[in-house]
């Protein structure tokens, strides 16, 4: 074993490191730096996309829950003070129902939630109402309906009932599960 060091020396001497190694190392440092910057940008870009996607989901959900609070004892109302043509709609009931059997759509009837609501305001002409139904805060059905003018002339309030097709199974809804937005067709 005494000559091991010598043999290792001889073997190591057969290898001559490249000239200009420092410059090449600095090139490598620069490449690694650029690669890291690109990766960092890629990551932050992905993170930004995720944040945008989450906010796109979260904001409407939060907005929907806020405008129709479940904990509130009174019936939910939505008022749009900025638009005079818009009316106040109050949801009074949300009940599960099945549309008549239609073999082309569903074998056991089409799942629907019937939304009963009243509209208050200056009701003299036809109305347009947008109805959203949410189950556990998740939007399961929407409907846009046109309502004709009151039969007995202008009035200040009107009760309506609209069935909204939903995705998934029907559920025992509460008034806070629906959101109605009505305005005059002017």
């Amino acid at each position: 074993m005494t000559d091991l060091k010598e043999q290792l020396d001889q073997a190591a001497a057969t290898f001559a490191p490249r000239e200009n190694s420092l410059a090449q190392t600095m090139d490598l440092v620069e490449k690694r730096r650029r690669r890291r910057r690109r990766r960092l940008w890629g990551r932050s870009g992905s993170a930004l996309a995720v944040i945008l996607a989450l906010s796109a989901i979260a904001v409407p959900v939060l907005h929907g829950q806020r405008s129709t609070p479940r904990s509130s004892g009174s019936l939910p109302t939505t008022t749009f003070a900025t638009s005079p043509a818009r009316l106040t709609a109050t949801v009074t009931a949300v009940t599960a129902t099945l549309a008549p059997y239609n073999p082309e759509i569903a074998s056991a009837g089409i799942p629907e939630e019937r939304v009963d609501f009243s509209v208050r305001g200056s009701l003299g002409g036809p109305l347009t109402c947008t109805i959203e139904v949410r189950h556990s805060g998740i939007l399961v059905g929407t409907s846009l309906v046109g309502i004709g003018p009151p039969l007995n002339g202008p009035r200040s309030s009107q009760k309506e009932s609209v069935a909204v097709s939903i995705t998934g199974k029907t559920f025992a809804g509460r008034p806070s599960d629906a959101h109605v937005d009505c305005h005059n067709q002017t």
Partner: protein, 169 residues
């Protein structure tokens, strides 16, 4: 070499060039002994040096920046060997019977073949102790293992080499 050209304007790389010139050749040769491959030794050395440069402001304040360089280089070597599936002992083909023992001693690559017959951890210990002349405590520090493990690896490696050299002669 103008280090400012690679974005060093803060003087954070002060002393790196001297460090590089002092250690580069030795580390590259140590890696050559470990890998038996000049190109791979160059690549690993460059990678290790690049990593040291990126952490130079911290490394230069260490007690042994050279030790840290060896640790980085040997970790890279071990990782590459693991990736290539070379962590186990390599049994070389026994085509040595016909060779002249006198020629074998003269053959500089012979020791590399013998080193290659050791496992990667044993090879690293042999190069650090026998070639670089580090003591057991230094090697333990560089490899991040206990001194007793260094002694065990060294003993086994010497046994293997002794048997191999004895067989050959």
């Amino acid at each position: 070499m103008n280090l400012a050209a690679v974005g060093d304007t803060s003087g954070a790389s002060d002393g790196f060039e001297a460090f590089f010139n002092r250690h580069h050749g030795e580390v590259a040769r140590a890696l050559f002994l470990l890998t038996r491959d000049a190109a791979e030794a160059e690549d690993l050395t460059q990678e290790a040096m690049a990593r040291i440069y990126e952490r130079w402001s911290r490394v230069r304040t260490m007690d042994s920046p050279g030790g840290y360089l060896y640790r980085t280089a040997l970790n890279l070597h071990r990782k590459r060997a693991r990736r290539l599936g070379l962590t186990g002992t390599i049994r070389l083909p026994g085509a040595r019977e016909s060779a002249d023992p006198a020629q074998i001693v003269e053959d500089r690559s012979e020791i590399l073949r013998l080193l290659a017959s050791l496992s990667v951890p044993q090879r690293q210990v042999v190069v650090l102790v026998e070639w670089l002349g580090m003591d057991v405590a230094e090697v333990a520090s560089v490899l991040g293992i206990k001194p007793v493990s260094v002694r065990t690896r060294l003993h086994r490696a010497r046994e293997t080499l002794r048997i191999a050299i004895g067989d050959n002669s």
